[in-house]
Structure formats: structure tokens, C-alpha cells
Amino acid sequence: MDNEVTLASVAKSEWIKFRTVRSTIMGTVVLIVLTIGLGVLVTALVRAHFHTMPLSQKLTFDPLSTSLVGLFFAQFAVGVIGSLFITSEYTSGAIRTTLAAVPNRMQLSMAKLVVLVTSMFVICEVVCVAAFLIGMAIFSGVVPTDSLGSGPVLRAVLLAGVNLTLLAVFGYALGLIFRQSLACISVFVTLLLIAPLIGLAFPQSWQNDFMKYEPINLGSSMMSVVTKANTFGPWEAFAVLALYMVALLALGVTLLQRRDA
């Protein structure tokens, strides 16, 4: 049937919704300002003080991770964008209008996912590449630099964008589960920041075995050029983080289908 509601038509609708609210725009501005702004600030400071660094620090200096330092904060911005994409529908009651137009809840949640992943992937990749290139431009001549021409560096920069995209999905999945922004953001911050602190209370051998599974460590594994002891390689880290998201999404979509709107 020609007029049938399809994944594509719902995605088109969700794309209109996604770009016509201030939270998305503001979240994206915060994302850009934090990633690029902090990157510029830190790389400029490093450039100014590089000559005072001890030789040992100079030898192990990692230009890539220094240029992407703003990502630590940017991950909260994408988490908020992802969760608000669904929680704002619940707080405003718009979810009823949405579900009356698109009764197939699997279709709705997947269309939202497509819109979120596509738009966040594009934005985050651009932001990460920009932060890296700007950082290298600032370092140039004074501080050693990395180049996207190097395979591992290119992989790390691109996976940094993928990591942010997955964290936006994290926020979205939490939104499907909790349906309100505050709960989502609390859980997001807890899992990302507080869980690693609790991990520190465990014996060293446990830490070695388990801390690599923490989302924040998976993220740093993904955007690292060197594989450290007791961590995953970048692609393994990506696979584990993606698996987390699939599991959380499965729970979120199941709840969406079961619950009254």
C-alpha cells in the first residue's frame, strides 16, 4: 500500500522532530564547544609549556589524546541529547500523539535510533576530526604531532566519534527504560564516572580483570593508539560497548512495547 507507515517515513518524521527542538541544538553546540574549545585551550597550554617538560614526559607525550581531551566532557552532552530525544516526549505528553500516528512501537524506536545514530555519527566524527586537526595545527613546530595519515591515529580519531555516538545511544536506551531525564542522567553519570571509583575499592587482581569492562575504559581503549596492560584493543572495546548498547536497547524496546503510554 502506498500510504503505509514505513521505517523510512517514521525516520523522516523523527528527523523533523529531532532538529526542531532547542535541546538538540543546544546539546550539539555544547558538544562542539566542549570538544573543540577545551582541545584548543589544553593544546595551547601544552605548546606554551612544552619546553619546561621533563624529558621523560616529552618522550611519552601523546599528542592525539591531548587534542581529544574535551571528549571526556562531550560524552555527557551526547548522553543528554540521546536521552532527551525520548524523555522529552514523556514529560510533554507528546508520546501519545506520536504513538497514535505510529502504533508500531518497534518501528518507532528503531526510527528514532536510526535518526540519532546517523546524526550523532556525522556530528561527532566531524567534531573529533576537527578537534584533532586544530590540536595538531596548534602543536605544529613546537610539540611532536600525529597525522591522520597514520593508520592507528586515523582509527583512534574515528573510533572517538563512534564512542560518542554509542554514548548517545546509551542515553537513548536509558531514556526508553526510565522515561524521565533526571533518572537517565543520574544513571548515565553513575555508570560512567562513579562505577570506576567503586572499582578502585576492589583488590588489584579484580581491577585488572574487570575495570576494562567499564564504559569509560572501553571508550579510552577505542581512541588509543597504544594498547595498555589489562585493557581491550580498540576493536574489541568497540564490540563490548556495542554489545552493552544492544542489550540496553533490547530492554528499553521491550519495556516500551509492554508499558502503557
Binding site: M1, D2, N3, E4, V5, S9, V10, K12, S13, E14, I16, K17, T20, V21, R22, S23, S88, E89, S92, G93, A94, I95, R96, T97, L99, A100, A101, V102, P103, N104, R258, D260, A261
Partner: protein, 307 residues
């Protein structure tokens, strides 16, 4: 065509809808009447597939809502006018809705024009008055030019002019052969806007019919003014009549016809000065029908401090 088939909805401890069945036919305005908390909104939400019934089902054009391929072309609904993201403009809200059901963009401008909010279509919905939000909700309901329309308490927040507009609007939708299903807790509103009325209370079906059918089922009273009210009152009571009200003007008598009251007065030797049969008011009928079914009735107050 809308069919409610043995619908039951239980929320953890409360039974919101209890084995409710009725049909809503096209071509007429059907009022859905019940006190607040009687299950009207829950029924509407189940029709739209928003809430899952505990038992039974709601059938829209022979299917459950979830089976509709392009729902906005079959059913248009205005549940809560504020069910819109407050930060989005009316035009963008309607565009997004239209896109999901592959409705062409030009239709958005048509419905905005029809409900008269074109001039504010690019303002954020959060700044709208309730009346403007209602109009936006109606625009959204009309987007797919559907054959079935549901409105939950649509006159709330409308000014008298808006109320009149919406009544005429319901009428014209029904005249076009559409199914129009409108809920309200106000009998007087239903009396002027609905052809058929379905009455529910505490989630249960009470009765169904036209306004005339409903008022006919309720027993009217007889007002009588007479030369000796005391004597007449005693005679009426003796003949199993009930005195609803007694004052110096006259008596309001129930359970007897005006013919019977006249005969009683004649037999008692009382001169009748006025004898008027009184039709039960719509509100009386409604109160009578739903008296046992008011969720939060005003109970009698008892002192808890005595002793």
C-alpha cells in the same frame, strides 16, 4: 465504525473499565458521557492503542489500532491538547506527524488554515493558550482526513464562540458520514452537541440512546399549587405519592402523573390553582443514572472527635 468489545482495564489495584461493550456508528455525533474518573479517557487511550486492555478489545474499522497501516487516515484524535512538545512550533509538529503517515506537506497548511491558527503556526506551542492548543489538536486530528474522530473533553478551555464553532464542526463531520465520538462529563453539553449518548459510570456501561430516550426513562415530577397544601400533601402521601419539595407556593410530587394528582385533589376537596407536569432536567437524569457510579461522591461528614 468503532466497536468496544467486552473491554476491561485494571491498573494495579483499581478497575478502570469493567466489561464495557458498545458500538459507535458513523454519520452521527456520539457523546461519551460519565462523571470524572469513570473511565472515558482510559477507553479512548485503549482505542488508540496507547494503553493495553486487560481483557477484551477496541476494534477500529474491523481491526485493532495496532494493525492499521496508516492510522492517521483512519482515526484522528484529540486526547489532551497539551500532548505536544512545548518547544516545537505548530507547523513543525504537524509536519512531523504528516511525514510519519506520508501525508503531503500542503495538507499541513490546509488544516492550520481550517482551525484558524496560520498566523501563529511558527510560534512555539508552549506559548499557546489552551484554546489555541485545542485548535492545534483538532488540526492534528484532521491531518489524515480520517473517517473516525475521537475528542476527549474538547470544549474544555474554549470560549463560548469556540464552543459554538466546535459544535457546528462536529455536526458537519457527522453529516459527511464520519464517526464522531466525543467525551464529556457535562450532560448539558452533550444535549446540544450529540445525537446519540453512551453513558458510563465507574467503568461500566449504564445506558445508550438519544437525549429524548434518556430523559423519557427518567420519571418526571408534577408541580401543584392548591388552596390547602397541607390537606393535599396528606392525600397524596396516602395514595403512595412522594413529596419532593413543599413550600408556601406548592408541592413537587413524584411517582404520580398530573392526572392522578388532579383526581386526588378533587377527591380531597382541594381547589387546584396550578398543575404542571415537569420533565426531568438533563442534569437530573444524569445524576440519577450515575448516582451509584460516582468515583468521588460527596459523602456525609461524621465527627471523629466525639466521646
Amino acid at each position: 465504525m468503532l466497536q468496544i468489545d467486552h473491554l476491561t482495564k485494571r491498573y494495579s489495584s483499581t478497575l478502570a473499565i469493567d466489561d464495557l461493550s458498545f458500538d459507535v456508528k458513523p454519520g452521527v455525533v456520539t457523546g461519551f458521557l460519565g462523571p470524572n474518573g469513570s473511565g472515558k479517557s482510559t477507553t479512548m487511550r485503549i482505542i488508540l492503542g496507547l494503553d493495553h486492555p486487560t481483557k477484551g478489545r477496541a476494534i477500529v474499522n474491523g481491526k485493532s489500532y495496532g494493525e492499521l497501516k496508516d492510522p492517521l487516515r483512519e482515526v484522528g484524535a484529540l486526547l489532551d491538547a497539551k500532548s505536544v512538545h512545548p518547544g516545537r512550533t505548530a507547523r513543525n509538529h504537524l509536519r512531523a506527524l504528516a511525514a510519519s503517515n506520508k501525508i503531503k506537506k500542503s495538507r499541513v497548511d490546509e488544516v492550520l488554515e481550517f482551525v484558524g491558527i496560520t498566523s501563529v503556526a511558527d510560534k512555539k506551542v508552549g506559548d499557546y493558550s489552551l484554546g489555541m492548543s485545542q485548535r492545534l489538536g483538532i488540526a492534528a486530528a484532521l491531518l489524515g482526513d480520517p473517517g473516525i474522530l475521537l475528542f476527549d473533553e474538547p470544549v474544555n478551555g474554549l470560549d463560548p464562540e469556540g464552543i459554538r464553532w466546535i459544535r457546528d464542526f462536529f455536526r458537519s463531520l457527522a453529516n459527511e458520514g464520519r464517526t464522531v465520538f466525543v467525551s464529556s462529563h457535562l450532560m448539558s453539553e452533550m444535549a446540544v452537541s450529540a445525537d446519540q449518548i453512551i453513558v458510563i459510570g465507574r467503568g461500566r456501561f449504564i445506558t445508550q440512546g438519544s437525549i429524548d430516550d434518556l430523559t423519557a426513562t427518567a420519571n418526571g415530577t408534577v408541580f401543584v399549587r392548591a388552596s390547602d397544601i397541607k390537606r393535599l400533601g396528606a392525600a397524596i402521601t396516602a395514595k403512595n405519592g412522594t413529596i419532593h419539595e413543599e413550600n408556601e407556593q406548592g408541592l413537587t410530587v413524584g411517582a404520580l402523573t398530573s392526572d392522578e394528582v388532579g383526581q386526588i385533589a378533587f377527591d380531597a376537596g382541594v381547589t387546584v390553582l396550578e398543575l404542571t407536569p415537569q420533565r426531568a432536567s438533563l442534569e437530573d437524569v444524569f445524576m440519577g443514572l450515575t448516582a451509584d457510579a460516582v468515583e468521588f461522591g460527596g459523602g456525609t461528614f461524621e465527627s471523629t472527635t466525639h466521646g
